[in-house]
């Protein structure tokens, strides 16, 4: 059993109590009354009886959403497009329905939402950077839900929060009438007449202050009711930030249940790498690739990391261990069968190696990675997270992710020489380098994909999905090529 230990005084409001079970307890079908609202400020930790599996899946689902939101936020999409992108994605991975929804199991959805949030708090309280990014992403998610919430449910939720905002009285209102008016130039006269104001410290609405959207006097900001979302978001942000700091100081001891520690470590690492634990499952459209075809496929469909490895291999007729592993598993993923892989590698090593040596040392490794030797495990191709975070390349290595492991100068010249679509000093190039600078490697990679595939900015690998796996890049790239060919041939294209 796992019980985070914290100082008793601090536990009450800040920590999560989890009891792990072997099997999932059947939750009562009737509504428990714990979740009267769809929106949640997460200020009461749930006490949970759950299975490890549930613990993990709730967290991973949410992590995926947060990563995705973070990636979206760096793409500067227009608000409407952003909102649709979030809606599509959340519906798929973490649906949360309004009270009016008849079909959904509201309690279950809301419970999963809550569990995910609280588990991630444990993972994300560890460093200031993680905390800040978690709060940003969570606030973005809350904002989206708040904006799309049913108006009356939202109002009920706000009433229950009972945030202490002072209402501006009639006297004060008329005293500052002209100033208040000037701060709302867009409002129609009747809108203005019907408006009412809250008076709060300006520090509670920094975003409105920055845009000069509110009247400020003696440190108090006069916030129109119609802009209360800023207040709500700021309250959400402040409370969560504070709560995470408390959690960080009283971090529950996770070693009491050795099964939880690794899960939580992995969650934090995945997020830092900028990807939601993306796993790769080959799509059926993956046609078999032969050794002869690799060169052609590489030029057209390899992501930067693999193209780099492949070019190295061509040039040096050699790759170090992790490089071979990264490229080899990837090739398996794109549909290069074992026999072809042996041919491919043999050819690549060329005359630098005798047949004898190759057969002894390399054939085994290739067969091994195809699950034909040793433990006979079928190793999956590495995801971006794995490439970004494990087996950091040394100076002699060429594996890894160029966005992360190249110096900015080398990355730039690599991109320029590899992709004719990119120009030095162009806005696109600056975009890419900026993402790299802020450690959003997958965002940079996604942007390169968009530019080199003539895909609209923000579309990513389709439906605004970011690159989270090298094989997904290749799959999508080949898919796009197929669509293009079909159009050229005048065939109908099936659109999803």
């Amino acid at each position: 059993m796992f019980r985070p230990t914290t100082r008793p005084s601090a536990t009450a409001s800040s920590s999560l109590d989890v009891k792990l079970h072997k099997r999932q307890t059947v939750s009562s079908a009737s509504s428990s009354g714990r979740y009267p609202y769809r929106l949640n400020f997460y200020d009461r930790p749930p006490s949970l009886d759950i299975t490890l599996d549930e613990f993990e899946t709730c967290a991973i689902d949410r992590l995926r959403i947060l990563s995705h939101l973070e990636a979206l936020s760096h793409r500067n999409l227009p608000p409407a497009q952003l909102s649709t992108a979030i809606a599509t994605y959340t519906k798929q991975h973490l649906p949360l329905s309004a009270n009016t929804a008849r079909t959904a199991n509201l309690d279950d959805e809301r419970r999963r939402d809550e569990i995910g949030h609280w588990v991630l708090r444990l993972a994300f309280s560890r460093s200031p950077e993680l905390r800040a990014r978690f709060v940003r992403a969570e606030t973005m998610l809350f904002r989206h839900r708040f904006e799309t919430d049913d108006a009356s449910e939202r109002a009920a939720f706000l009433r229950h929060l009972a945030l202490d905002w002072a209402v501006v009285g009639e006297d004060e209102r008329s005293a500052y009438e002209s100033q208040l008016r000037k701060c709302m130039p867009w409002a129609r006269p009747e809108q203005f007449a019907a408006e009412s104001w809250f008076k709060v410290s300006w520090t509670a609405v920094p975003d409105l202050v920055a845009k000069r959207r509110v009247f400020v006097k003696q440190g108090m900001a006069y916030v129109p009711q119609s802009m209360q979302i800023s207040l709500v978001l700021q309250a959400f942000d402040t409370r969560l930030t504070r709560a995470l700091e408390v959690t960080a100081k009283n971090l529950p001891r996770l070693d009491e249940d050795e099964r939880l520690g690794p899960v939580i470590d992995h969650l934090a690492a995945s997020f830092l790498a900028g990807v939601g634990a993306g796993e790769y499952a080959p799509t059926d459209s993956t046609a078999a690739v032969t050794a002869e075809m690799v060169d052609d496929v590489a030029r057209k469909h390899f992501p930067p990391c693999m193209l780099n490895l492949y070019e190295r291999l061509k040039r040096d007729h050699h790759l170090k261990h992790f490089g071979r592993l990264q490229l080899g598993l990837f090739l398996k993923g794109i549909g290069l069968p074992l026999e072809e892989a042996v041919v491919f590698w043999r050819r690549m090593y060329g005359s630098t190696m005798t047949d004898d040596k190759f057969n002894k040392e390399y054939r085994y490794n290739i067969r091994h990675s195809y699950g034909q030797e040793g433990r006979r495990a079928n190793y999956p191709p590495k995801s971006c997270t794995q490439i970004l975070t494990s087996n950091q390349p040394g100076t002699q290595d060429s594996h890894g992710c160029p966005f992360r492991h190249f110096s900015p100068e080398n990355l730039q010249s690599f991109l320029l020489s590899t992709y004719p679509q990119l120009e030095r000093g162009s806005p696109d190039m600056r975009d890419i380098m900026d993402s790299v600078k802020s450690s959003h490697y997958h965002v940079a990679c996604t942007r390169v994909f968009e530019i080199t595939h003539n895909v609209k900015r923000g579309e990513g690998l389709g439906n605004s999905e970011s690159v989270s796996h090298p094989n997904k890049w290749t799959d999508r790239s080949r898919e796009l090529e197929k669509e293009k060919l079909a159009i050229l041939n005048g065939e109908d294209v099936k659109m999803e």
Binding site: S127, W202, R212, Q218
Partner: protein, 427 residues
Amino acid sequence: MAISAKEQGMAYDPSSPQVMNAFYRRLFPYKALFKWLNQADVPGKLWTHREFAFTIENDVYIRYNSFNTAYDFQKEVLRLNPSRFEIGPQYSARPRDRKTLPAGALQPQRRELVFDIDMTDYDEVRTCCSDKKICKRCWGFIAAAVKVLDNALRNTFGFKHLLWVYSGRRGIHCWISDTLAIDLTDDQRRALVTFLEVIKGSKEQVKKVNVRNGKDDGELHPALEDALDDLRTEFSRLILRDQECFQSDQGWQTLLALLPANREVTESLRKLWESSPDRSSEDKWVDIVGMIKTYKTSNPTLYRKYEKYMQDIVLQYTYPRIDAEVSKHRNHLLKSPFCVHPGTGRVCIPIDPDRAHEFDPEAVPHVGELLVELDNAPAADSGGKIPEDYERTSLKPYVEMLERHAKAIMADVRGARRPVKEETMEF
């Protein structure tokens, strides 16, 4: 007296270690500086966890110093004899322990809200000097900036404890010590600065004031309207009369470019000003007013547009040009008050914002002058309290200013704490 202390003093070289050492030994107001930063008599985290950065010989820069007491600080200053030093934030731990702390454990937490205004940002509008130079006349820009900023910080944002400090050469700093200011997060600082920032855009951009929500005739935010009220008089006095910003060809061409693009008006003005090159800036401003008067009834929309554009011109030439980056981050280091500017030898003294107009950078105490004053002062007479060395120099009123300022902050901070104490005592 044949030569004044002033003239004698100027001979002292502020880059000489002996001069600086004498200054630090005899004149620097450690106690007042401590109280101002610490906001209490007993050292708290605002002092012990505060970063100091020293610049010593050969421009070596030593960061992450911190001190237990004011005395420790004083000892270190005397030992290092820095050419200047800067003040940073209170960190989550003692900055000097940073090597023994886990990565990421040293986070900036609290810090005065600071502003930096520098004359270089006015190079495109001032005509009397350029580059590193500054004179009493171009100080007018700074004085106008102080007036507007001081007003906004007090009336709009409600701050009380503002310390304005001469930066030693061509600018001014402001330190705000209210508890609310000290507690601001970087996001909040950024928001406040963005609210106050009006002049934006590179050299290439002519019109640098765009504060009407993208509309030509949009209303100004009330805070900017207040600023504009203050700046109208500054504009006539400083821009039109003193600096004559529109006298030169280049000057009036810029003015034309800043007005609405209306062929008729622009061409008539151009012709007029080309043919009579001796029209003063004030004449030209009046020319514009006269030219557009006819539109008041015939084309009120156009008239209104001119009105707003002319307001924007007033702002562009006189509104404070703040170095926004300095204010946005808690961990930005800023030169301490009472440092000596290594280039000019002038002491970074506090300035009374209500009298910023009277301030003359040339009249600021020079380190050498102060040392001469000290040498010439009669030995302390027996009996009575022995005066501190600074009290016998012209530095005295400035040190007293900092002392009064620190006292007011401390009274406020104590006042905020007291109610809690009293409650617990009563029961």
